[in-house]
Symmetry: D2
Subunit: 315 residues, 4 copies
């Protein structure tokens, strides 16, 4: 992650300015505010603003005139209850806004979460930076044999170095040609006065999908948790999970009671279908159930046995 001196100064200026507020405030999140938390090779997540805290969830659930809170333990208990019974509206009463720098192919996965507000840096209007994502060697994985949308072993030796060379060379060349077609120097003057320069909205089509873009992204806590439950999950593509993991840390600083309930009831939880539940009941009654007599498909059986056997994160 390379910030320019101007950008660092802008961030420092924001962090140096405080004002008194009557609003709910969270010191642990204030501490993180505006800082660029690094992700991947050139990306970051910055918390720009937030509304509400754990107590605001309680306040809204009770539609109260005041803070709505009683003892901290009672509040945490109510939050656990709301999470367990999927009462989503109180969690919508908190809101967070991020500034994110991310590769375009990650942005395309991310934007599928529609209940959010987005302002993306416009490559129709402006010129993108010369930055692209190149995986670290340990993330350069082969196609999975068993899962059509998954990764297998890490590539090694000549194949790995060939892939990295190709990714670097192609991204560099297409960016350089993008810049050449634009025909603008740093001051917006023509590099070559004999050429007009291709329109920005057209030239951008020459960039590869690992080029970095950036956006402001704002959502409520309920939808943030929905995003994290899918994207901080082991089945998510590593590159978006790297962002989700950092955002999960910001959620922990922001709303610790909600974060704890979320880890217990969502991230660490499993869902048993009616058919799986019937099997578990038979097992608990002492029966030795096998897949053929379980009424479950082989795939569902495997998924269930994996869930029941594997150690999961502690609550």
């Amino acid at each position: 992650m390379n910030l320019t001196d101007v950008q660092r100064a802008e961030i420092a200026a924001l962090r140096d300015t405080t004002a008194p507020t009557r609003r709910a405030s969270v010191p642990a999140l204030e501490e993180m505010l505006y800082q660029a938390l690094p992700v991947l090779d050139h990306g970051f997540v910055r918390v720009i603003d937030y509304m509400g805290d754990d107590a605001a969830i309680v306040q809204a659930a009770r539609v109260s005139y005041g803070r709505g809170t009683r003892r901290v333990s009672e509040d945490a208990g109510l939050i656990r209850y709301l999470m367990r019974h999927r009462h989503s509206t109180p969690f919508e009463m908190c809101e967070i806004k991020y500034h994110v720098k991310l590769p375009i192919f990650v942005a395309r996965q991310w934007i599928r979460h529609r209940t959010a507000n987005v302002n993306e840096y416009s490559a129709r209007y402006s010129i993108l930076d010369r930055e692209f994502y190149i995986p670290a060697p340990e993330h350069l994985a082969a196609q999975s044999d068993s899962n059509r949308q998954g990764r297998g072993a890490v590539l090694e030796g000549q194949e790995a170095s060939d892939v990295l060379d190709l990714l670097r060379a192609d991204a560099t060349r297409t960016y350089d040609n993008y810049a050449a077609m634009l025909n603008e120097d740093a001051d917006g003057q023509p590099r070559d006065p004999a050429r007009q320069g291709l329109a920005r909205e057209l030239a951008r089509m020459n960039l590869t999908l690992n080029t970095y873009t950036q956006w402001y992204w704002k959502t409520d806590l309920h939808n943030l948790l929905g995003f994290l439950s899918l994207r901080a999950d082991a089945h998510a593509q590593y590159e978006i999970r790297a962002y989700a993991d950092v955002m999960l840390e910001t959620a922990k600083a922001w709303v610790p009671a909600t974060h704890a309930a979320f880890m217990d009831y969502r991230m660490g939880a499993i869902t048993l279908s009616a058919g799986m539940l019937a099997v578990v009941r038979r097992m608990l009654a002492g029966e030795a159930v096998e897949q053929p007599g379980s009424f479950l498909s082989r795939r569902e059986w495997t998924e269930m046995m994996h869930a029941l056997a594997a150690p999961r994160p502690d609550p």
Copy 2:
């Protein structure tokens, strides 16, 4: 509007507590925070929290690292530009949360605006207060002759007093019977030990639609302005317009540049259809156009002439 002493104390406690924040803050809105701004006979609007300010709109539109603002005049110009060209996403970067007390029939109009977060006081879970809306005499209007969903002249004399008597008597009686069916006293004990008491989720069906309910309602600035453009409009029912007018004042305190642009480009603006525009062009060229030769229906002609003739609110 009658707040209990406990409620007043809770509000005062919130207002007395401040904390330093690095977030964008708006002193004029901080001044209003948590206060119950009266609406109708027993209703109110309270600003509970907010995120962002005019500069946050500019910051998001520019996807900037810092505050994003330049001179105040440039910011206001950009906000006017965004409003004029219906760039909605930067305005979504600000968020506001209200606590509102309102009659149920108003809540039913309001909830049609779906892009918002809502926590309503649950009459399944709790007992509603004994408060209902009775129109002030100057708002007790007859059915309009010309507009099937509008109001005509104010009722007067015997008819007016009969209507007010009926509204009061019916609301009072149905509430008293609601309480009787519940069979609970203020401490949650049975009034009449011989009766079980009807379930709250059933008893509430006996209440009239002018009974007050309350909710937390949170939305982004873009959707707030969409709500206000419909509900602070002269065609809106007076009872919801009374809320919209108060909320428009909170928006003015919160985001003054956006409010000014909104008054100019939305509240005070008119839309000319292609057909109307053709007529205006002919008029500007000096032609004396009449409805029969205008290609407009009589209704559209009347609406256009009204819009072109009537004084509108200043920008």
Copy 3:
């Protein structure tokens, strides 16, 4: 449910008219189309239109040029996979539109599901029918002792008949006064020429919450299932569950493979939190776990034991 002769004739006319279409069609749902399926004492659900079928889900998941389907068993397997792994977007590719007649207090619960399109009969513009919901004796329940938003035993004897009398009398009186304040006869002429008549938008506030309203309600299959998973659930209030149960039948006729997967993976499923899962693992390993050593609260323990013990609907 009382339809007028005119309404019956309109429905019959719609049912008698067919046209050839190239679109996906579902004979079992065509059979139900437009019919008023009765709910509660005066309500109904009518399927007005639909888009797509089970195969359309497969077609969208595969982004295919043709029907996208292979063998029926493969399609059902893919649908089960999509449901199990919460892939929601393919289910959004089917859409259904209902005409529903329902008490206002049910409409107020229902409208909390925001991802839907709604056109409600306007009591600002028109006059509501003289119909209100009165619970059947077996649904006239006392407040639950254990659950603040639940029902207990059925009311009996004098208390039951008193409640029914009160509900009927109050609904009748408030409706009659509504009609009197409107001062309109069936032809829209003044009943009493000496009175102006109160505006409809005001008079409606005198109606009780069990008055019937009606709306067109349209949503996609994913959101329909979300609605049904909450409202066809045993914890939902009986009056809205009665609607959900009928709609669940329409879903079964429309998309049988999706319905079967939904019953297995959502309606009949349970979620085990990380903490509950740890307990189940210990139990499966043969340990006799008790609540005090389970790290679960008493409430969570009870909920888990109930889920593991109780018979659930078959898949």
Copy 4:
């Protein structure tokens, strides 16, 4: 646009199959159904399914039991009224589903319209076709001098041919390297048995933004019109406008009365701000207003004079 023989056969099979339906049907749109309407060099728009017609809008607006329609002229008049007064909910009662093949940079603009359902072809799971968008010479425009997000004159001569060569060469090379890194032949077997092949979810990052993707996209008529009003507009980038223009034709076949009202009240309409309206009133009163005395900025003055002077599309 190159469809394979298999794809053509699948489309033909869909078009050859009809079934009787009681639903609202539109012969003119049935005629278009499933056909690939070409857009740009390799893209297309296919209408896959639809729900409702002009009469369904009327039916929902009236919450009727039957078809809801009266005379065709009355229906058209109601639709014009609803459009003029921005009553959006009746238009939400119609739904349409498209299959679209489009360059990724166009998909990224399009997806900003969030109120729609989308299933995109997954390059995590599958391998993209070797197709990329190369602008026709007449669309190869220079950057605009006056508008930072617009196009100027068409490029000519050497600069034009250089740009086309670069675009073609870079897209070809990056695609070939994508295929090489994947190391799969047409049957999914390794090209080079000595290599593992890079995971699909990683290899795709090497593709340029003019690579074609495809998706199923479904939305309601209200949101379709919102999309078209922005994307069929002269200020939209040509490449997305090409799609919007074709979709506008499908809307005309589907809901002709709504289309006509839309062209009059939205596409051909202008909005006058409060300040502009004040100027027009002075002009209509015979005053010769100039910009300096207009209270409008130079930019707003220019925009207004342009709108009042320029010929607009006929209603």
